[in-house]
Amino acid sequence: MEKGKVIDSKDFSKALPGKNSVDKAEAAKQIPVNSAGTAASDDSVGIVVPHDYEFAHPPGEMVLESGRKLGPVNIRYETYGELNREKTNAVLILHALSGDAHAAGFHSQDDKSPGWWDAMIGPGKAFDTSRYFVICSNVIGGCQGSTGPASINPASGKPYGLLFPVVTVYDMVRAQYELVANHLKLPSLHAVAGGSMGGMQALAWSVQYPDYVRSALILASTARITAQGIAFDAVGRNAIISDPRWKNGNYYDGEIPARGLSVARMVGHITYLSDLSMGMKFGRKLQTRQKYGYDFTDEFEVESYLQHQGDKFVERFDANSYLYITKAMDYFDLGEKYGSLPQAFGIAKAKYLVVSFSSDWLYPPYQSKEMVFAMMKSGRDVSYIEINAPYGHDSFLLETVRQKKIIESFLESIDV
């Protein structure tokens, strides 16, 4: 969920459960090690350069699922590793709500934190860049280089704001197809992979382009978000919309709705953690005081942590993009679009790997199971594992050791 997250492994070792079936030695191995190295580390993809690809120039605009048109469309993307001669080793990584095209490596020598999934992408890592040509792009509707509500509307010469059309997960995938098939000229993808909303895109990929995708890795994701998930998204959107600085989305020439976006992020962040990990990490500890101050400052550690997450997020994310992308997630319902889930997976041809996390209550394991049974019903080849991890939804970003083992052997089992 979060770009360039630096995990204090000391903190998270405290978050590991004692009574969990994961034993202590095992647990020690599981301590998330993110952003381990520098651009010069052996397992880093090093310094990477983002690229742009613009398409759908008028009058050839992209027609969106809503029927509205969008063009031109820019896609910001990065690639890691080398494409082989047969062009059979391409893997497309799909990011979650707040992610971006910068999945691995560093943008400069003094870049402090690497891409958002650096722990999983690099030489010898889960997505081994000495074997695979890895691509990651920013979704349309986003704000990290691809066309979104903060981009300039060619009709007015000003940022789109709410004039930007609502995009869906299927639209995001169609734009990615333009990039990999028409621009990078790849004949197929060895795998599409993503967690959370990235998993939704991977699912959509496998159904929208069944002959193009050999395998799909769906991590901590769902074929449709729960009512509870929509509810949290709605609170986030309401926080933004009720910020007086939001001004119906027209804030690009003045102050941004920082307060609203920050609160939205705070709510979101709660849903990415778990009761257990919060309890272990913060407990009821006070930030600086020894005793209660009997006032309304951020005195609990968990309060100031959330505040910090909110403030950090505002510096890098556009409030309107938050509205558009959460809406795309809420609309996503693969079964509804194709009649039923088994019907959807009946179209697909990819081999699936579905991974859920025991403590993920935002994308709960039972939803993954439902999806897997629908895949099986349609005769798809699928493996399903529920990883016992305490970090809630964020586990897919933090639990790298076991995911690496599973992902690398799954990718290897896919026939070219």
Binding site: L353, K369, V372, F373, M376, K377, D381, V382, S383, Y384, I385, E386, I387, N388, R402, K405, I406, S409, F410, E412, S413
Partner: protein, 203 residues
């Protein structure tokens, strides 16, 4: 769960029993070794089910398709007659609802292959009779308080269960000390039995 000296004997027997190219579901598949062998030697298309994360990881690393799930929840999400064989190898005695599991196996599969330790074996009977203690053997190495084997039965118990539930035994293979033995007084002699089953009345 059931510690036999040479587990490969079981795998070899089951591999012999299954026809080329069958579609197989292995319940309690462990590390996927049997499915791997079946895939390689009998070209089966198959998948495994196991409850343990560690086992699931081993299966995936062998390229075996696997589902992490609990057999006691039944197989309700599996379509009727969707497999040629459903295998339950050395797992019946650890399930909470063995009859449910057995019935579900025969609904989902056209045939079922089941193996379990025979608690009627004379060696075990003697331990109880002479020592007055719960039997502990190489095959059943646990003490009463730490055993995962909560539903042990004798060969005869199982045959009666099949009769009561309209399950037909198509074939029986008995083993002792990792060798195949003939079926003469198998309830006394066999340390382990393997049955191929089907429903008496085919729908």
């Amino acid at each position: 769960m059931f510690n036999i000296e040479r587990p490969h004997l079981n795998y070899r027997i089951i591999t012999e029993l299954i026809e080329q190219g069958s579609n197989v579901l292995d319940l309690g598949c462990g590390n996927g070794e049997l499915l791997y062998k079946l895939k390689k030697e009998k070209n089966v298309s198959g998948r495994g089910v196991d409850i343990e994360e560690r086992m699931i990881m081993e299966c995936i690393s062998k390229g075996i398709s696997v589902f992490q799930g609990n057999l006691d929840e039944g197989l309700k999400d599996y379509a009727t007659d969707s497999y040629d064989y459903v295998i339950l190898n050395q797992t019946l005695q650890v399930t909470h609802k063995p009859v449910l599991v057995l019935k579900e196996m025969l609904r989902v599969g056209r045939k079922a292959i089941i193996s379990f330790p025979n608690f009627g074996q004379i060696k075990l009977r003697f331990q109880l009779l002479l020592k007055g203690r719960m039997p502990v053997t190489k095959g059943l190495p646990y003490q009463w308080y730490n055993t995962p084997n909560i539903h042990l039965c004798t060969r005869k118990d199982f045959v009666v269960l099949c009769r009561e539930n309209d399950i037909r035994i198509l074939r029986e293979i008995d083993t002792n000390k990792s060798r195949r033995i003939n079926s003469f007084m198998a309830n006394l002699r066999a340390s382990e039995v393997i049955f191929i089953l089907e429903k008496s009345v085919r729908k």
